[in-house]
Every structure is written in C-alpha cells, then in structure tokens.
C-alpha cells in the first residue's frame, strides 16, 4: 500500500479491477439466477425466457414448498441439528479445552499427543459407521449430533486461547472463592466470546450443510433439509404435481430453485454480518508458522 497518492491508472489497475468485478459476478450470479427461477411462472421457464430477472413474477413456488410436510419437517430437523449440535459441541470443546489448558495436570502430555495424532489418522468411513451402528445410534438424532461434537482443530484453538488468559485473573477469582467450574463459567467463557463465536459459527455452518451423515444414519423423517434437497435433485423425491411430465419437470424447476434458495438462505443472509468472525478464526489457527 503506497502512502503517497499515485493517481496514474496503469494497465495493471484496469486488468486487476476487471478481474475482480468478474470474480464478484461469478460468485453472485448463480444465486441471482436461482432466485429468478424461483420467482418465475412455469410457462416462462418452459419457454426459456428466464435469465437473471424473473418473468411472470409470482410466489407460488415458495407457497408450494411450505405446504410439503416433508420440506417443513426437514427444515425443522436442520434447525434442530444445527442448534443442538453447535451447543453440544461448544460445551464439550470448552470444558475439554479448559482442562487441557492447564499444563500441570497429570497425563496432559499424553492426551495432547492423542489429540494431535488423531488429526492425522482418522478411523475411516466404514469403521466409524460400524461403531455408530453397534452403539445403536443409527436412526436416532444422536447419530447426527454426537460423533462430530469435538473437532480437534477447534479444540487446539481454544486450548491456546485459554492459555493466553492471564493467570492473575484466575487467581483473583480463586481468592474470591470460585472453584474451577465457577471460573470456567463466570470468568473464562465471558472472556472468550470472540473465539467461541468463531468456533460456534464454523460448527453451525458444518451442521447446517451436513447431508451425508443424514444419508447413512437417519430415517426419512429425520432427514435434514440438505438431504431433502439432494433427494429432489437426483429424483429420489418427487415434488410438485402436474398433469403431464413436462408440467411436472417445469413446476419442479421453480420449486427446486425455491428449495435451493430457502435451504441456504440463512447462510446467505447472515453471512455479511458474521463474516468477520470467520476470518478472525482462520488467522487465529493460522497455518503459517
């Protein structure tokens, strides 16, 4: 960054700015297209009139999907998995990280090695699946929530964060008569809200977007909305009803687009507000040595 103002615009500037505009468009246009499709009339879609602006604007597609009990239930499932899963994950990770932040505990080194080791060597799909099914967790909501409650990555970030809390603060709390549970709850957690918010958001996004675990562990009425969307896209689930097959596919198109938009809407809406937390987290656990 130059401190002196150079007003001369070079070829490099023009090229770079064009590329950046292109990048922005490429990132946004797919969603605009989906939005336009979801707000257009089926006949316009069938006649290939829709590009980025809705033709025959109507909200029928959205009204329709909210009458599908499967969609409604799937959306509710997703909301549940995301909130419960994130909460469980934050609690487990915080408690574990706080205990592990104390280097004087016996066995601390071994457990630390176990944590790091497991980041490189993971069990694999089949052994994990067999474990979860032999624990009788398949077909229950716990299969979605429990196995991914602790991410080693987040754990290590939190451990380092907790270690950076000045010891005087804890000592003052101890003098005030708090025990370690109290310290965690009343002192450490409030001080750690940025880190917790970042980890929480990453975890929430993970749960919101997760579909594969639903595929292999859950029954149909427990599916999250992303799995519901996937089933629509590959034709396992039919949506819409129409007299002829052409009607069925074009109604399905505006409906499909509506499902796409609604399923990822919270992320798109909340993203601009929350995105600074995502970046902060990335540089906290930075790869660069």
């Amino acid at each position: 960054m130059n401190s002196r103002r150079v007003k001369r615009i070079t070829v490099l500037d023009v090229v770079v700015h064009l590329i950046m505009v292109f990048v922005v468009l490429v990132c946004i246009v797919p969603f605009i297209y989906m939005l336009a499709l979801s707000l257009s009339s089926p006949s316009a879609i069938m006649n290939n009139q829709v590009s980025l602006i809705p033709v025959g604007f109507n909200l029928n597609a959205y009204k329709q999907i909210f009458t599908y009990p499967n969609f409604f239930r799937a959306y509710g499932n997703t909301i549940f998995y995301t909130s419960a899963g994130t909460f469980i994950s934050l609690v487990m990770t915080s408690v574990f990280a706080y205990a592990m932040s104390k280097r004087f505990l016996i066995g601390h080194k071994i457990v630390m090695k176990l944590i790091v080791f497991s980041m490189f060597f993971s069990g694999g799909l089949i052994p994990t699946y067999l474990l979860i099914s032999s624990l009788k967790l398949t077909g229950t909501v716990w299969a979605m929530l429990v196995p991914f409650a602790i991410s080693q990555f987040n754990l290590i970030i939190l451990i380092n964060f907790f270690r950076a809390v000045p010891s005087e603060i804890e000592e003052a709390a101890i003098i005030d008569g708090l025990d370690y549970f109290g310290i965690l709850r009343r002192v450490i957690i409030p001080l750690s809200t940025p880190a917790l918010a970042t980890i929480g958001l990453y975890t929430a996004v993970f749960f919101w977007n997760d579909w594969f675990n639903g595929l292999i562990y859950l029954n149909t009425d427990q599916h999250p909305v992303m799995l519901f969307l996937r089933n629509i896209v590959n034709g396992t689930t039919m949506v819409g009803d129409g007299a002829g097959s052409a009607d069925r596919s074009t109604i399905a198109m505006s409906v499909k687009s509506a499902v796409i938009i609604t399923s990822t809407l919270p992320i798109i809406i909340l993203y601009p507000i929350l995105q600074r937390f995502f970046v902060a987290g990335l540089t906290v656990g930075s790869v660069k040595g």
């Binding site: 700015h17 505990l105 965690l184 996937r230 798109i268």
Partner: protein
C-alpha cells in the same frame, strides 16, 4: 501459570499427618479432572475406536457379531481388491482428479491473492474479498444443485447460450464423462479460491514494508515487486500449503463426487472413497471396503510424511 501457589477452597489440614503430594494435587484439582472425563471418553470412543476398527480389514465380518469381525483372514481382502479392476479404475481416477485439481486450484488462490493485493481502493478490495469467500459456506448439495440447473441440457443457462448464440447442440454436461473432471475442478475453484486466498493475503500483509521501499528505491515496477519481493516472502506459506495439499492427495471431496456420480460418468467419477462407500455401505461388504479404506489411509500417511520430509530437506519448511 497458576497452580502451585493458589488453589480453590483449600481444606485446612486439620490433622498433623502430612498428605502425599499426589493426594494434595488431586484434592486441589479434582474438578479439572472431572471436566476432562466425559470429553476424553467421548474422544477416545469416537476418534480412536474406529482406528482400531480398521482391524476389520483382516477379519471376516458377521452381522450381529460386533464391528471388529470374527475370524482372521489375513490379507485375503487386500488380495481381492488388488485384483479388482474396479479398484484400479477408482485408484487411477483418484490420482488423475486429485493431481489435476492441485495443478489448477493450488496456483489460482495465490494469483488471486497477489492480484487482490494490488487493488488500491481499500473498500473495493474488502468488498471483493468478502464476496469471494462466501461460496465456501454454501453446502455442496446446493452447489451441485445450482450447477445442475445451470448446465441442464433442456433449460440451463449455459446450453441456451450455446444453442442460441453458437448453434451448438445442447450438451448434457453433468452426465458426460468428458466434463466430469472440469466441472469438479471448476466448482472447487468457485467454492474455495476466495477462502484459501485469505491465508496468502494474511502472509502478504505480514511482509516487512521496508522491503518494498527498498524495491521502490531500486526503481522496481509493480510487477517486479510482486516477482522479487512478494512471492519470495510468502514462499514459506506456499510450501506449507503445498505439503498439506499433496498430503491429502487421496482424500478428495468425496461428498461432491458422490453427488455428481451418475452411471454414465462412472468410469471417471468413481474414486477410492466412493468405491469404499458403495462396496461398504451400499453392498455391505464391510471387510472388503475397510481393507480398501485402510490401504488408502496408509498411502495418505506416507504421502504426508514424504512431502514433509522432502520439503524440510529442500526448503527448510515442514509441518512436523
């Protein structure tokens, strides 16, 4: 750190007999150990038991007899998949897709970061950056669903442009084997370029300003500054990222490939992980699939160690 001098609720030693240091330790810190119990148990259960579960690759699985199998069969399953052309096809597909993906998607975030750094308007730069890593938070299902619509042979935007402007017949992109790899790679570009670039941008902002000022004094152009100052300064970051990428060569975006898989493009779209999924979870050949997975995992470990070692010897950068 605290611990030795201050402790909560110390019970006054009523009797004169001194308690052992160990007992004192536990009396002070028992709460911390209790805190560790449940998470540690969970951790061992869900992260380490599956590791041992890989032993199933050497034993026969019988339904209802537990996840570790019953009688030993040695390397029988390994021999079986080594002779299975489906395995070698998946192996080849994994390597080709992974190497092509790295070839394209490793340099692009670096270039993007370098270019973005050249944008002079701070507001615009921040705006582009923020928009560019939004796709990373979109579910793969949504990405593939949108692609399906965009590339649809009957109504997709791309095909409409092709037909109307160029008079080409519509192409069923998502079904054609020839387009599978480009679509996979380019969708990875779309999803992760902005996000990966953050790491490089962070490295670039960490470069000492004096280096640039010295280059200015020497009369360097902006492009020359990029080539002789910026890139060498972030080389350590680049190498670490390269190690991580090559190390995970065999573990591709399994979910995305699974979503893109159709019987028509199976010959290029079947990768090791989808093969494991199909033979294991769909066909329920658990031992066979575990053997393949174990084989793939071991190769992955070797890859990480090898690239780490090579990098340490040649450039001095390593992860461990």
């Amino acid at each position: 750190m605290t611990g030795t001098s201050v402790h909560p609720k110390e019970k006054k030693a009523a009797s004169g007999a001194p308690s052992s240091p160990l007992r004192r330790h536990f009396r002070r810190y028992w709460q911390l150990y209790v805190m560790m119990l449940i998470p540690l148990a969970y951790f061992l259960l869900f992260k380490y038991v599956p590791l041992f579960g890989n032993i199933l690759a050497f034993r026969r699985f019988r339904p209802g007899m537990g996840p570790f199998g019953t009688d030993w069969v040695g390397f029988a399953y390994f021999e079986r998949f080594m002779q299975d052309p489906a395995f070698w096809r998946a192996f080849r597909n994994t390597l080709v897709l992974s190497i092509s993906n790295i070839a394209i998607n490793f340099p692009i975030p670096i270039i993007f970061a370098l270019l973005l750094n050249e944008v002079r308007n701070g507001w615009f730069r921040k705006f582009v950056q923020t928009v560019s890593y939004m796709p990373r938070f979109i579910s793969t299902v949504v990405v593939i669903a949108i692609l399906g619509e965009l590339l649809s042979p009957s109504s997709g935007l791309i095909n409409r442009i092709l037909v109307n402007m160029f008079g080409i017949d519509p192409i069923y992109f998502m079904n054609e084997p020839a387009y599978f790899r480009p679509i996979y790679i380019l969708s990875e570009t779309w999803q992760f370029t902005g996000w990966t670039a953050i790491i490089y941008l962070a490295a670039i902002t960490g470069i000492n300003r004096e280096l640039f000022e010295a280059a200015d004094i020497d009369g360097a152009t902006r492009l020359q500054k990029i080539r002789y100052v910026t890139i060498p300064s972030i080389m350590s970051t680049i190498m670490v990222m390269l190690i991580l990428n090559v190390g995970s060569l065999l573990s591709l975006g399994f979910e995305k490939v699974l979503l893109m898989y159709t019987p028509s493009n199976a010959m290029v779209s079947d990768i090791i992980d989808t093969l494991v999924y199909r033979t294991g979870l769909v066909s329920q050949n658990y031992s066979y699939a575990t053997a393949i997975g174990l084989f793939s995992g071991v190769i992955g470990v070797i890859l990480v160690s090898a690239t780490n070692w090579i990098s340490r010897k040649s450039t001095g950068e390593s992860i461990y």
